[in-house]
């Protein structure tokens, strides 16, 4: 395939992918939660990228199948206290797709125990390089929670395209409250004083 043909094919593909959000939107109802909507958009986008990759590179991985295999990984990332915050996709010659997870809860002792059990099962079920990479991410997140220092991993970005990549956002454990949060805290404290 010459460069001119490749660029033309890419432009066509970009155009072909434009109705994806509309298709995804059809399948979600207004009563669905925001995370469901995001998941639907992600599903459509991942399917489209799967089609594109399959056409350009017949040996490329099926993202839908990859997503199914990642079910346990997503369960485990929830178990270690991270919740999905959003998805990022960009469409172009080098498309990118990833998701952002935010620290939403501390791990309890029971969570740690369950994590150890689930990781044993995860290792037994999946031994490939991607699964190994995912386990490294999970271990890093759990180890970050065990830190008793002044920092915490409050956000993690996981990219599947163009290459698997994890970005950890580390911030001070004790930060100054924002103006809104400070006002909220004062309101709660005054309410508590009122009832006492």
């Amino acid at each position: 395939m010459t460069m001119r043909r490749f660029i033309a094919a890419s432009c066509l593909l970009v155009l072909a992918m434009s109705p994806i959000p509309a298709r995804a939107a059809e399948s979600v109802t207004w009563t669905a939660t925001m995370s469901d909507k995001l998941a639907a958009v992600w599903d459509g986008t991942a399917a489209a990228f799967g089609t594109v990759f399959g056409w350009l590179w017949p040996g490329a991985p099926d993202l839908r199948a990859m997503d199914r295999r990642e079910g346990r990984f997503h369960d485990l990332i929830g178990l270690v206290g991270y919740g999905i915050k959003g998805f990022q996709t960009s469409i172009g010659l080098i498309p990118s797709a990833g998701s952002t997870f935010q620290l939403v809860r501390e791990m309890s002792d029971a969570d740690y125990e369950e994590f150890d059990l689930q990781m044993i099962r995860f290792e037994q079920e999946s031994g490939g390089p991607i699964a190994r990479f995912q386990r490294m991410i999970l271990m890093a997140l759990v180890d970050a929670q065990t830190l008793r220092g002044a920092y915490k991993v409050d956000r993690v970005e996981l990219w599947v395209l163009p290459l698997p990549q994890a970005t950890f956002h580390i911030s001070p454990a004790r930060t100054v409250l924002s103006e809104e949060n400070d006002a909220l805290l004062r309101a709660i404290e005054s309410l508590r004083e009122h009832f006492q």
């Binding site: 929830g78 939403v104 809860r105 309890s108 150890d116």
Partner: protein
């Protein structure tokens, strides 16, 4: 005129003092009392271990009990001279192991056997199976309905699980002990993870407290001790379900039936390999001897504790821990563990 001591002379004196002081330090370590700490639920197994150590050692370690798991772990994983061993109803988790490593303590794990919580019903009961979700649905104090927390009002087994009979429910739960810890961790907290309302709570302590808070309207009843359990079982209702340790069940097996949980029947095989959901290993952790701070005699005593606790007379079928209610690990696992623990404790000795 008196000659002032040279630097070389002072070095020689320091060397002689260090070499001569080494056995003295060893003798001091020998004199130090050896202590193990056990969580409250480990009291029966602590007593078994203490008896075995009394038979084998002239100066056996003291076994101290504490109600608080975090305190027990903190006493074990402390820099310098802490307690020498820890009896725990579960494995040290990743955070606790990391804490130990951070303060220079290397825990050596020895599984004494497997503890199980049996879900038992009187013989002829209308119930024939159980799920963790159904136990949680019955026992939890607050439920989340349309984003709001409300008091649990489920009253019949069919309301907790559509496949169960339409029978009024009574759930008896031990007030404490290893079976209660298993019920809280594996049934209550496990099912609670599926509730978005509970998972929205950031604090682990507050979430655990809510996820294990039992209802107080009489449907869930805590019992304290064997007498209270037998009293409840004397006149059983058709919908009565009792959570009890495997030892308590074995003592009443002629009157009770153990329900399969998540499709797994609690027997020696399923408990031993931990495929039964309400089962887990209990551990004795020993501090790996530090040759810089501990004398040879002290290290020898640690090895004697490990030897006594891992011997087939203790952990094998018909052993002391099995008599106290633990299900032994598989034979191969017991052998491998004993060899590995003794090697870790004595491997790099001079």
């Amino acid at each position: 005129m008196a000659q002032r001591p040279t630097l070389r002379f002072l070095r020689r004196v320091a060397l002689v003092v260090a070499v001569a002081g080494w056995p003295v330090a060893g003798a001091t370590a020998w004199a130090a009392e050896m202590t193990l700490v056990a969580t409250a639920s480990m009291a029966p197994y602590g007593a078994v271990l203490a008896e075995r150590l009394r038979q084998r050692m002239p100066d056996p370690p003291v076994i101290a009990a504490t109600d608080n798991v975090a305190v027990a772990v903190e006493r074990f994983c402390v820099r310098g001279a802490g307690v020498d061993g820890l009896l725990l109803h579960r494995a040290l988790n990743r955070r606790e192991r990391q804490h130990c490593t951070d303060v220079g303590v290397e825990p050596v794990a020895l599984a004494l056997g497997v503890e199980a919580a049996v879900v038992a019903v009187p013989q002829g009961s209308v119930l024939s199976r159980m799920t963790l979700d159904a136990l949680f649905a019955v026992a939890i104090r607050e439920v989340s309905v349309e984003g709001r927390n409300r008091i649990n009002t489920v009253g019949k087994w069919r309301e907790a699980d559509a496949t169960h009979p339409d029978e009024a429910m009574i759930l008896m739960v031990p007030a404490d002990g290893a079976a209660r810890a298993l019920f809280d961790d594996r049934a209550m907290q496990s099912a609670c993870r599926k509730l978005p309302g509970m998972q929205a709570i950031y604090s682990a302590a507050e979430r655990s407290r809510r996820c294990t808070a039992l209802r107080q309207d009489g449907i869930v009843r805590e019992y304290d001790g064997a007498a209270a359990l037998d009293q409840a079982l004397a006149e059983p209702s058709p919908g009565l379900v009792t959570i009890m340790s495997s030892a308590a069940f074995a003592a009443r097996a002629s009157r009770l039936t153990a329900l399969p949980v998540e499709g797994v029947v609690p027997d020696d095989d399923s408990i031993s390999d931990e495929s039964y959901p309400l089962s887990r290993r209990v551990y004795l952790y020993l501090r790996k001897p530090d040759s810089r701070h501990q004398g040879a005699a002290d290290r020898h005593r640690l090895a004697m504790v490990a030897d006594a606790a891992s011997h087939e007379e203790a952990v094998g079928p018909g052993g002391a821990f099995a008599a106290a209610g633990l299900v032994p690990l598989p034979l191969a696992a017991r052998g491998e563990q004993r060899a590995a623990v003794l090697k870790r404790l004595t491997g790099d000795w001079p």
